[in-house]
């Protein structure tokens, strides 16, 4: 563990993430105001003592909404990445370990998915299934699957003929056992770096989709929704658009740095 925190990227990333998580935990118990409570007389108020980060177009407290927004972003990122990771891992491991026809077919499908630019794919998925938390998560995890599948596959392809796997096979270990208790641990570090980077890109994509009106449903305080709503008031209330932007940037930076750190460490690069 100490090894990890001696890496500056990982350390800084973790500190930022920790602060975000702290805000998240506080938001479970307390937010300065109700996140949907409106106070129209106080709309687009500048940051002040009552409203630390100002208010939005309905006079809702921006700080409270950002706190809840972090929760939504993290939830979406976590669900999208973990389901993307799960499916990517399953697909990639079987494909890479067994190879042959199956591998070719699966990789064709993965290539097909990768051939769509991510945003286009998500746009089509959401056009079909509609907006909302679950559908946003599904769209984002479909976007994440190919990346994980490819990385897992290349890891398995490299290792399936290595000496320690051959040795296990001679000892009579089953394929599943070799796949998941012997090969998998060797690529965990690479996967975790990718997961961290995917987390960052899922948060960005949610913002992009909400910007196009395709993401979450209001009045849910997602950072993407806040950003797209704030955009209409850029002229009148520049701080309103800056706050979700900065929050998104911080979250993304945190995950990028952690991912970088992990990558540096398992690449043996200081």
């Amino acid at each position: 563990m100490k090894r990890y925190f001696s890496n500056p990227s990982f350390l800084i990333g973790s500190i930022i993430l920790f602060m975000m998580l702290a805000l998240l935990v506080i938001s479970f118990f307390h937010t300065p105001y109700d996140v949907t409570a409106m106070d129209l007389a106080n709309k687009l108020a500048k940051p002040s003592q009552e409203h630390f980060l100002g208010t939005d177009q309905f006079g809702r407290d921006i700080l409270s909404r950002v706190m809840k927004g972090i929760e939504v972003s993290l939830l979406i990122g976590f669900m999208a990445v973990s389901s993307g990771l799960l499916f990517g891992l399953l697909i990639g491991s079987f494909s890479g370990y067994f190879g042959g026809r199956l591998d070719e077919i699966i990789m064709k499908i993965i290539d097909t998915l990768m051939a769509f630019p991510g945003v286009l794919l998500a746009m089509m998925l959401i056009a079909v299934f509609g907006n909302g938390l679950l559908n946003t998560i599904i769209a984002l995890s479909v976007m994440a699957v190919p990346r994980f599948a490819r990385i897992t596959r290349s890891g398995y392809m490299e290792l399936r003929d290595s000496d320690f796997v051959k040795a296990e096979r001679i000892r009579g270990a089953g394929s599943l056992r070799i796949m998941f208790s012997h090969i998998l641990p060797n690529i965990v570090s690479e996967l975790s770096a990718t997961a961290s980077l995917s987390f960052a890109s899922a948060i960005m994509s949610e913002a992009g989709l909400s910007y196009l009106g395709l993401g979450m449903q209001p009045p849910s305080p997602s950072l993407g929704i806040m950003l797209s709503e704030a955009q209409d008031y850029m002229l009148r209330a520049p701080w309103y658009v800056l706050i979700p932007t900065i929050t998104i940037a911080l979250l993304v930076i945190a995950f990028n740095l952690i991912g970088d750190g992990l990558q540096e460490m398992n690449g043996g690069v200081k």
Binding site: T36, Q57, G130, N131, G213, Q217, D232, R236
Partner: protein, 505 residues
């Protein structure tokens, strides 16, 4: 690192130099390099079709009405005025319309306009030559006669008080079939080009027949832009001369720009599916009317740039507007709770508001409504859907609980109020009131203007009494213009009158 900095600096300097050499002229007087006066404005969506007989979108009409003109035109009050026809007579039974055409009109193609062109156009409009009228309002035309070069007689199968207003549809040259790609009309501006995704370009028609409506600005570039912040930044950096903006931006832009804000004869409403529970109960509908604070919507979603509505009619149409509906349901949450109790919903209920996601103002309205309803114990969830999905599910199939939409204005009250007639195909409210249907039918054939207005006023009252919807407001059309651009005229119909605009030297 240094090299990159040098490179970036070089790029910036070069581009800024290039900027200085070509743009100094566009800045000051709205002129381009050749000294031609220019106006750059926006339209929010791609034109649906440049063909006047296919197009129905009001955004398209706002632009193309500068190119196409009909037998009649309308003025700033929405009254019918002479257009290509300098006068007309309607027979007493309302079945024969005789139009006397101007003899000094030429098309943009240079051809002279006469009754043959009008007959050709009306043969397409009425479907006599194609088999299908372009719209059901023209299905009653049975014959078109051209007794001489400048007279056209239209015969109808049944009287229709709204027919004259319909003859403002554009006239095209006889035998012309390329309107969809190269529109030719008679208006003060002629069509130059359309680049999909980018812009429409119009140029002044120097041969225009009416001096008083002759344009002053030589060239108009209409950019297709929907992104609010892109429009505002383009205005501020002098790349646009005029654009529709939100009320919120107007509050800031008014420092350097002239702001025109006028009601636009639009009806924004919170539609309730009258056919399903609990909205089939009038007490529930009335409760919703009492529970929603319309002033909050006007201030919160439209920044005050809107006029409150209490029925399906905008006060802009002054001669038909019934002012008795005003404040029929004042904001009164106590009364709403009482009514809900009476209807058997002591603990409230929950439902979904389906909102088209491309209209931020409707999305905002939905959020305010949901918050207001929370106070009377009703849970309203918001479901954003894509515009295409909304049109299919809500508008065509009427398959929804509640929705929020703005219905664009019409010059004839029939076309505005017919949406609530029980057998109207697009009555997505599922509103059904026999008396209302009867009154609308009566009004349609009534040729006495005063009686007709009375009937329509009665219709508005019925809708309000039945609480068929929660009408919210008529949002203003807010236009920001460079301060040296003058002459803006506002109409109760989507129309950007380019010919009225001029630059103050």
């Amino acid at each position: 690192m240094k090299k990159i900095l040098v490179f970036l600096l070089a790029v910036l300097t070069l581009t800024s130099c290039a900027k200085n050499e070509d743009s100094s002229s566009t800045e000051s007087l709205g002129r381009n390099n050749e000294g031609v006066s220019l106006i750059r404005l926006t339209m929010p969506s791609e034109p649906d079709s440049l063909d006047p007989y296919i197009s129905t979108a009001s955004d398209t009409e706002a632009v193309m009405h500068n190119v196409y003109e009909g037998l009649v035109l309308f003025d700033e009050n929405g009254s019918i005025i002479p257009g290509l026809a300098e006068s007309w007579e309607i027979s007493d039974d309302g079945l024969e319309y005789t139009f006397h055409l101007r003899d000094d009109v030429t098309f943009h193609s240079g051809e002279h306009m006469d009754s043959a062109d009008v007959a050709y156009s009306f043969e397409i409009i009425s479907g006599l030559s194609t088999g299908e009228p372009i719209s059901s309002r023209f299905s009653t035309i049975t014959a078109i006669e051209t007794p001489d070069e400048y007279t056209v007689i239209l015969n109808l199968s049944e009287p229709n008080a709204a027919f004259l207003e319909g003859t403002r549809v554009g006239i095209i040259p006889e035998g012309y079939t390329d309107s969809a790609t190269a529109p030719i009309g008679t208006g003060p501006y002629e069509f130059v080009e359309y680049t999909p995704g980018q812009r429409i370009v119009l140029e002044k028609n120097d041969e225009y027949y009416d001096e008083s409506r002759m344009g002053s600005i030589d060239r108009a570039e209409i950019y297709i832009m929907s992104d609010e912040s892109a429009i505002v930044t383009a205005l501020q950096s002098g790349q646009l001369d005029m654009a529709q903006v939100t009320g919120s931006d107007a509050e800031v832009l008014n420092r350097n720009f002239t702001i025109h804000s006028n009601p636009q004869n639009m009806v924004c409403l919170f539609a309730l599916n009258n056919a399903i529970e609990p909205f089939n109960d009038i007490r529930v509908r009335m409760a919703l009317n009492y529970a929603i604070n319309k002033d909050n919507i006007i201030y919160g979603a439209f920044d005050g740039y809107a006029t409150r509505l209490d029925s399906n009619f905008s006060p802009v149409m002054a001669s038909y507007y019934n002012s008795d509906v005003e404040n029929f349901y004042p904001y009164d949450p106590e009364k709403a709770i009482e009514l809900l109790k009476e209807a058997g919903y002591t603990d409230g209920f929950s439902f979904t508001i389906t909102v088209p996601s491309n209209y931020q103002q409707h999305v905002n309205t939905a959020q305010i409504i949901a918050e207001d309803l929370k106070a009377v114990g009703i849970k309203a969830g918001i479901q954003l859907v894509e515009w295409g999905t909304w049109l299919e599910d809500v508008y065509s199939n009427g398959n929804y609980e509640t929705t929020i939409i703005g219905l664009t204005g019409k010059l004839d009250p029939y076309e505005i109020l017919v949406r609530f007639v029980s057998d109207f195909r697009r009555n997505f409210f599922h509103y059904n009131n026999g008396e209302y249907d009867k009154l609308i039918k009566e009004a349609m054939v009534e040729t006495d203007e005063n009686k007709r207005a009375e009937l329509y006023k009665e219709c508005q009252m019925i809708l309000t009494e039945d609480a068929a919807c929660v009408w919210t407001c008529d949002p203003n059309l807010v236009i920001a213009m460079r301060s040296d651009l003058k002459g803006y005229k506002s109409y109760p119909l989507a129309f950007t009158d380019l010919s009225a605009l001029y630059y103050e030297e």
